[in-house]
């Protein structure tokens, strides 16, 4: 019996799987870029100019500043959780892509890690689109805004892990509706994106503290317009990181149950 061992998560396998995603991305980056820029532009126009005409300022910010920073989190959520849910489900159920990887020296841990990193990276790039659009509409950011991509990456990777877990548990693609309507819609609305959560009933405010998107919104807003509040922002980052580590392990666990008999 040979004694040589392979490390559990090898960079070669992780980058190999990511190279597949990156190669496929060369085919559809244009459509992704288009929707990533057009969506926030519409939100900004509709809410910023439409709704913003009714509201002079929110928490000391102009409504345009408020929403321009808030919808970064929305963009991150949509560019991470949906690709993770649908992409993963299609890959293991219909295309059997993961079966092909598993026949090569690649383990479930590496597949899940690659998908999460890749989607996190994409969210780290496309999450900034709303901010750039807001800047084009006159928002002037603080220098600390250069850290926003990191927040987008961490949040995107964490929601990718969540999406992978959902995809691995789901029996069919319409099961996603439960998650989408029952969980993602409230998460996205009650995150301080469009309105502050301190106006909500106490119980909902407490629950909102456990919404990862809320922490993403606060961080981005502090980095871009409010100014850093070190302890609070470290807390937000810590929350997102822990959420990410948990969803990463959950995704590996559920995907293993799904792929290995």
């Amino acid at each position: 019996m040979r004694r040589r061992r392979m490390r559990r998560i090898e960079p070669a396998a992780v980058f190999g799987v990511m190279s597949r995603d990156a190669t496929i991305f060369t085919r559809y980056w244009k459509t992704t870029t288009f929707s990533s820029v057009v969506d926030p532009t519409i939100y900004l126009l509709a809410f910023g100019f439409g709704f913003g005409a009714l509201v002079s300022s929110v928490n000391g910010l102009s409504y345009k500043e408020y929403i321009g920073t808030g919808i970064v989190a929305t963009a991150v959520l949509f560019s991470s959780v949906f690709p993770a849910m649908f992409g993963t489900f299609i890959k293991y159920r219909f295309q059997r892509t993961y079966d092909a990887f598993l026949a090569a020296p690649v383990d479930v841990d590496e597949i899940a890690t690659s998908e999460i990193l890749w989607i996190g990276l994409r969210a780290g790039v496309y999450g900034n689109a709303p901010l750039l659009v807001a800047i084009a509409f006159g928002l002037s950011p603080r220098w600390t805004a250069i850290f926003v991509p990191i927040v987008c990456f961490v949040t995107g990777a964490a929601f990718a892990g969540f999406g992978l877990t959902v995809a691995a548990i789901a029996r069919s693609i319409d099961n996603f509706s439960y998650v989408q309507s029952g969980l993602l819609t409230p998460l996205f609305l009650v995150a301080g994106t469009f309105f502050p959560i301190d106006g909500l009933p106490n119980a909902i405010q407490v629950v909102a503290q456990f919404n990862p998107l809320y922490h993403c919104v606060q961080l981005v807003r502090d980095l871009v317009v409010m100014g850093i509040d070190p302890w609070a922002d470290l807390g937000h980052l810590a929350f997102l990181t822990v959420f990410g580590l948990i969803t990463w392990r959950l995704a590996i666990w559920r995907l293993r149950v799904r792929l290995i008999d």
Binding site: M6, G16, R20, I24, Q95
Partner: protein
Amino acid sequence: MSETSAISLRGVVKRFGRVTAVNGLDLEVPSGICLGLLGPNGAGKSTTMRMLTAQAHPDEGTIDVLGYRLPEASKLARAEMGVVPQLDNLDVELSCRQILTVFARLYRVPKADRHAAVERALAIANLVDRSDTRVDLLSGGMRRRLLIARGLVHRPRLVLLDEPTVGLDPQVRQELWSLIDNLRSEGTTVLMSTHYIEEAERLADTVAVMSRGQIVTQGRPSALVREHAGAQVHEVYGSPSALAELRERAEREGWVTRRSGPALAILHAERHDGALPDGERRAANLEDAFVTLTGEEIE
């Protein structure tokens, strides 16, 4: 385990709920041969193949592949083997060259050698002209060749082929057979599952007959035919009632028979010269042996 075995399965059992797919499987695949795992659909061949890549873990028994114990050390084994699955799992949005490049990375082909490895695999699969064509624009035969090329891009010592030609037309099947034959003559160990008798007969040095999750018998195709069907088969045609009568007589006389299309085939016919009714003589084949062994019809 013996040093010359590429694959060794001992007492392997795999259950799915109440169904026992593999039921005490013992199988040795010596290095450098092509072993055909022959069995009807549902015999447990695909489950066995999945266990060899640790995509399924056995409930009982031990599995060694290329000297590595599975499932713990399966990743090391997978690095040195190539797998060609029964179901096409190619990325349809990628081109042939892109797929092979991704898998060359996954198989840890060093960066400096990757380009050459991909070109070599394209040449083996005769896809050089199609290297930049997207998979969804390839014909069924080309896709199957690409699947094989994908499993060979890292020059594996062992290749697993799960039903390599299922669902393909005869011409494409011939093409793939010569591809597999070349592998064997280069000294690569091949384990091929199939439910086509002719495929096993043409390609395999050794055939292991699998039925209901176990190996029923194993040997050279010619030896299996000789042992289980004899040298000649005597086929008798007639009305159903005449054949039923003949079957009864065969039972009394102790002749081994099997249904063969519209005829009743009497095996080991050379032993019963003179005693048999009018019929047609032909050489015994692997199908005769297979049906006798498993009681199951096969293509």
